[in-house]
Symmetry: C2
Amino acid sequence: VQAVVVEKGAVRVVSDWPCPEPGPGEALVRMRLAGICATDLEIVRGYSPLQGVLGHEFVGEVASAPDPAWVGQRVVATINIGCGECAVCLGQGPEHCPRRKALGITRDGVFAEFVALPLDNLLLVPEGLPDEAAVFAEPLAAALRIREQLAVPPSTLVAVVGPGRLGLLVAQVLAVAGTSVVVLGRRPASLALPQALGLDTALVPAAPTAGFDFVVETTGNAAGLQEALRLVGPLGTVVLKSTYAGAAEVDLTPLVVNEITVVGSRCGPFAPALRLLAAGQVQVEPLIAAVYPLGEAVEALEHAARPDVRKVLLRP
Amino acid sequence: VQAVVVEKGAVRVVSDWPCPEPGPGEALVRMRLAGICATDLEIVRGYSPLQGVLGHEFVGEVASAPDPAWVGQRVVATINIGCGECAVCLGQGPEHCPRRKALGITRDGVFAEFVALPLDNLLLVPEGLPDEAAVFAEPLAAALRIREQLAVPPSTLVAVVGPGRLGLLVAQVLAVAGTSVVVLGRRPASLALPQALGLDTALVPAAPTAGFDFVVETTGNAAGLQEALRLVGPLGTVVLKSTYAGAAEVDLTPLVVNEITVVGSRCGPFAPALRLLAAGQVQVEPLIAAVYPLGEAVEALEHAARPDVRKVLLRP
């Protein structure tokens, strides 16, 4: 089958990748549409030692499954596959299982014609929700994770640093309860899309302090934490949503002196993400910059890495 | 009067420092006993641009005050002096007032025969509590700050990194509700005192992960955050209690992937600290390594900077 494969730090499209064989409790899912995210770009740059199929955002159709009720259903899938036996898996779920595999990060992913996945990871896509919206279930869930970790009072003053593919989802899910959210970017051109989405925007303020209650850092830039510590006010909260390869140089004094809370935030809940998408409460389709055939994935990855490009999709 | 003065990054004892003149609402306090803390050592190394009298931990006796009921009383004092007018001062107190002055950090401190202080900052020392215990009110309050910021469930597994002057107070206040607290150090010699205090101790584990729920970093070492991110388990909390001059190199990936919460923690509540001291629920006097005359403060600061030395005190 056709697949986008990372090997020895290089990415290429192969046409003779073996069709995955589902294990016990697993379905074979035919990919319909997949999305490129910043983590994919980081993996290509060496963030993870992945040797295999890239990709973890997708919508697909079940081709075969141990339970025939699944066959033909349109599905999305959570990306963490735990051991299913440890206290973490049994108590909290697979996201922090020490033996977990993550789709397209430490296990073959979804940039392929077919992917094998545990039934436990699958969620039905609501009828009538187009593939072009359902493909955002994973990043929208990641954005919603913030609301599972922290209370965001409606009177809070929130800044989302980075008007990129993840930042625009985060800003929307933080604004849903009437909270004042401003999307911060470095260049006016990067703010055109958030403005078109009806979000408040501003250039990153140059003043030594800005006094936001919450700052969500989504740039994936090594200097992001230091910048967030400057933008957040005393007793405020910084959420780090990005991983990137390498170390950052950080002066931690403001973190201690201003008693800031920094929260790392990763994967989130799919069911509420699908509900928001089905209800049209979050706008995702304006984020789509291009749709490439799977065979042109290398060009698609290059396109996704360009400035001000949000979501690039792949279709088999 | 005699005073320990920092000027142009050098510390010295002078005998002709002008006696401070109390402003409106201020008392003149005669210092009885003062303590050297890590922040003092950092200031001498250039952490703060202080030009003036060093020191912020002390117990004293009111020499003169606008309200004569204070005269002759034994007192300790909170170290932040806010503008008293802004929303932060009126709402939360002076600790995060943008115009605040901090005793011995940005305003003349307590390593002197006399110090001028607002009455609002003074607290009476409970009768019968010796000076040698009352002088720990400020660092014990700083340790207690953690319990004001975070719920520490009694079944939590806590590590305190750094068996130093602050770490041993933090460990004691976190253990009071039956929580399992282990004090981690790099050398067996550094663990002798915590063991004598009845605290659980261990050498810093070398394994890649350790899985503590809470890790409190008190070493003031630039590598402390990275080490804490290794020791804490997924979804755990790291408390940073130390400030130091300069930047740290940190790989933030584990913070995001393991969804760690990092909390900066600074000054704390004096009233409960005095209650704990008066009730004998925290052992502080075994931490005293030496008492120097104020005139030998330079030697005392050198003594306090040596390994395994906890509290060095100054007496006029």
